[in-house]
Symmetry: C2
């Protein structure tokens, strides 16, 4: 394990940032005095809901594609995703004029399916025994597409190119707000969290990085406590981006660097989401509300001071809002 | 008529801006390449939905209050409003430690009533014969409160202090985007539109200022065409901020300076609102969607080039969304 995560550091993150920065938005950091008062700390919201495709995932998608030699790029790209990764890879592939093949679950949000179609991605439905496909079922479908098309497989989180890409989000956040004492990040497969760990370790080693996940999908907390990957089974959370298990590459980075992983209730996720919509007038998806829910539930140290929160995405179905 | 509007110019707008700027946000200007492609022009969205109280109205509210001598300020402030003005005046009064009295219609959105209560404003319900109070009914209630409390009456739009305050929004927009060729503004009572006219006349005289209103409340277009104020009766539009009639002070400024007033359907307002939510991940209220609907309906010249849009507010009831 150690070999793989030692293979990536802040140099790779900076190289990724240079590679992708003309293709992505440097998203703004918003603040809200109302929320600061409510939470008792000063919060800096990194708005990846404003990112291209509506989520941070384009960072990893572009980095993975642009890391390939030109002749490999031309063969296209395959990935698996419940939604945001799907749209991100489709967008990146279209921008570079190559094909995207996406293994998606049948339960994906309609808005996320529509985004893939809008960006011209080819959807292949994942066959699954349960309602939510397992990581193995996702991977099997993606590998079958790769074998059939010759396109390049890029894992949605367990890929060093993906991790380095996602790490550029915290890189920007810490460049813009170097004095952060805590950084809160949602954790699903761990791509964003492991990337944040890498950037924070180099740029703000004193900052505490805290992963935030739903109680109903608390595999990352269990994995951290047990010291090995505990797969997520039957996740029933509304945070549709956080239902996956940690990966062989993301877990060791997280285990080494993260300060804590906290879990939040479904009620807190909904309340936090609504709070951000009403107060900040911005649209965030349930997964992005998870770190805000951690603040709402008082899970962050009272003396936190300056807290960075990565609002990971803003893709929701307006036709079926949870409130 | 001419006497009154000649009494205010860009000097008053600049003075207002200086007076209020420590109390308000200089709101960001956002762009969207997706919407630019959809509309065929380059659109600069001035995000007053991010303004304190969730709407531009605090500009006029602070300017009116801060224009008063200190001993007058202490007697408090009275206004009438369907919602955003109510919250804005309550917020400004609280910031300065004085009382606010608000004449509100019983049909005001629950979220707007809650905002007034949150800011400590005192609500007095307007007695009305119809479902929506007339301007006369609003004014009568506000005047009765003034007589009873001794507080200072500030009209929500037909007051030079209010107009100068609202004009600071376009002042900022045109300072940040001096090359705008068209500025689109929603029009209800005309405070924002008349203020925009004043700032544009001084800062960007070549820019076309276009007022945008619902077909279902098209009194401003009728007034402009007839050359005199046509009161709005029974407005049935979802754009709850645009149901009022023009005022004796706002009308002549608009009549002199505005380039056109266009109207949009209820369907276009809803579609535009949804489009902005989904594409830009920001929450705008129906009134703010009206200028976007004008773009959607192709009512803006095809060679418009750089178009400024004032997104006037973002206060909606999440429990009763129109989609």
């Amino acid at each position: 394990m150690s070999r793989d995560y030692e293979a990536i550091g802040i140099e790779e993150v900076r190289a990724a940032h240079q590679r992708i920065s003309s293709h992505i938005h440097r998203t703004p950091i918003l603040t809200s005095s109302t929320l600061d008062t409510a939470f008792g700390c000063q919060v800096f919201f990194k708005c990846e809901n404003f990112q291209k495709s509506g989520a941070f995932k384009v960072r990893g998608a572009f980095n993975a594609l642009l890391s390939l030699p030109t002749e490999e790029q031309a063969r296209g790209i395959v990935t698996s995703s419940s939604g945001n990764q799907a749209a991100a890879v489709s967008l990146a592939a279209r921008a570079l004029g190559v094909d995207a093949y996406i293994a998606m679950p049948k339960i994906a949000l309609q808005s996320k399916v529509a985004a893939v179609e809008r960006y011209g991605g080819n959807i292949i439905w994942v066959e699954s025994k349960g309602q939510v496909p397992t990581s193995e079922e996702y991977d099997a479908t993606a590998e079958a597409i790769r074998d059939r098309t010759g396109a390049n497989l890029v894992h949605p989180y367990d890929d060093l190119r993906t991790i380095a890409g996602q790490a550029t989000c915290a890189l920007e956040l810490l460049e813009d707000c170097p004095a952060l004492e805590v950084v809160l990040v949602p954790v699903g497969g761990g791509g964003l969290l492991s990337g944040t760990c890498l950037s924070a370790a180099a740029l703000a080693p004193a900052a505490r990085v805290i992963g935030c996940e739903p109680e109903m999908a608390d595999d990352a907390q269990k994995s951290l406590r047990l010291g090995e990957i505990v797969p997520q089974t039957d996740p029933r959370t509304i945070a549709d981006g956080l239902r996956t298990s940690l990966g062989e590459l993301t877990f060791p980075i997280i285990a080494r660097h993260v300060d804590d992983i906290v879990t939040v209730s479904e009620e807190a996720i909904l309340m936090a989401m609504r709070h951000v919509w009403e107060t900040m007038k911005i649209i965030i998806e349930p997964s992005a509300a998870v770190p805000v829910a951690a603040l709402l539930e008082g899970l962050v140290p009272a003396d936190a001071g300056k807290v960075g929160v990565i609002l990971s995405g803003g893709n929701v179905d307006l036709d079926s809002l949870p409130f």
